[in-house]
Symmetry: C2
Subunit: 242 residues, 2 copies
DNA sequence: CGTGCTTTTGAAAATCATCAAGTATAGTGG
DNA sequence: CCACTATACTTGATGATTTTCAAAAGCACG
């Protein structure tokens, strides 16, 4: 179910996600104008809140939890194009329909904005428009990296890239401590999601992780937890050094 | 060789590429400010004019010809992430280094802009910043589509998608005539480029085209020319219906 | 403590890559 | 203008990574 409240349950100024998000381009004193547009939603795990091909009427900003973004082929084949976590802005597209679907991996909190209204607001806050361009540029770079992975890397290299990115990702959030990165990686997604993200099957994902384990590159205490034992080796694999 | 002239050889107002490009966000009367920043270059076929990893000091705008954009792995594996033709803006990235390389496929004309200077100009012309966001959003959508292709489509589907896109692309330029699309597709890139764009080998590209030919879906009068005989069938393949 | 789901593991099959010639095509110099 | 060379493309045979099919093992939840 999607629970909706017309106003954000907390003011934008107190939002945990603000520092991670494009909203921080707006000054404190102007924040109430943004808040007036925002509709705060709760989305339960497994719920699809953006349907590929539907009219693109809203923008979204993730303020809690994680979503998977995906595209489908008519026969059900699925490609996950990315994961959206706290701070991610969704719905950037010129087209009148959404080019991808989005489904909550866990309990999420999101802010919804009417497209035309936010567009209008952007005219008054060029700083936010600038931040959106930054965000889009970064996503473009990430997308190109993913194309390299999908087009040219082996299954081993794909999994290694995935784990290394996840580890780096975690350290970005909490502790940016130079070369030292989180050793424990928590995966909010299933093997099936990982497979669809890396262009593999669940069996190949499972087998590859098992092999990493036998090579003492990782430990897998539970299906959703991975301990990185040999970060350097994984990073080497990820970059294709072999 | 890269031939350089400090001022565009023709004024921006007379530029053929303007209508296709972000430059058209700037009014005629302000165009001289843009022109003052632009350095017009000629790039010969085969020349790499953006080196992946180099400091990103410039933005580029393609005003003639076509380039391939690519990423490399240390052992030489290559993924072409896209082709940049007239009107394409290059260099959108927050990072201080280029995330991809660019090589001219044929004789190109490009406009080069100093990054900081164009950034400064953008502050005065929010309309252009808006257009850049549009461009970036569109590229993001294209990138997601390409991820679906690379991650989940078969070789046949990839080639079909490629040909259909190329055909649509041509018709965008010259004749936007509803459902009717150009039947003749001219390919400025080699089989090797196509392979690296689609995540395949040249042999698979060649074999698949041969098979399309034997199935009367296409004709291949010369290596760089393809006549689309059965557009509907190709489109069906491309979207995974088959 | 079943029941249903996810994950792992195994064996067989298939698509695509690799290796290896052979055939066009274009560009060069005699 | 024509041989000659280099490069690009095609075609064939073989091989390997990954998928598919199948079943067992964990795990979570009622």
């Amino acid at each position: 179910m999607i629970v909706e409240s017309v106003r954000p349950s907390e003011p934008c100024s107190a939002c945990d996600a603000r520092s991670f998000s494009v909203c921080n381009a707006i000054e404190l004193r102007d924040l109430d104008r943004l808040a007036a547009l925002a509709v705060s939603l709760t989305v339960e795990a497994g719920r699809t809140f953006i349907e590929e091909g539907d009219p693109a009427e809203c923008f979204f900003n993730v303020t809690g939890g994680t979503a998977k973004l995906f595209k489908l082929l008519p026969d059900g084949r699925r490609q996950i194009t990315g994961f959206a976590s706290t701070g991610t802005f969704l719905g950037l597209a010129v087209s009148s329909t959404y080019a991808f679907g989005a489904e909550a991996l866990d309990a999420m909190r999101i802010c919804r904005f009417s497209r035309p209204k936010l567009r209008a607001l952007l005219d008054d806050f060029p700083a936010m428009e600038k931040r959106l361009l930054e965000v889009a540029s970064n996503e473009l770079v990430a997308a190109q990296e993913q194309m390299l992975l999908l087009g040219r890397k082996t299954a081993r290299e794909r999994l290694a890239s995935f784990l290394v990115n996840r580890a780096a990702c975690l350290s970005n959030g909490a502790c940016v401590c130079g070369t030292r990165v989180a050793e424990k990686v928590t995966l909010p997604m299933t093997r099936s999601d990982i497979a669809d993200y890396l262009g593999l099957t669940i069996e190949t994902v499972s087998r590859t992780l098992t092999r990493f384990k036998s090579e003492h590159l990782i430990d897998v205490p539970s299906a959703s937890e991975i301990i990185i034992r040999d970060y350097a080796a994984l990073q080497g694999l990820a970059t294709g050094l072999n």
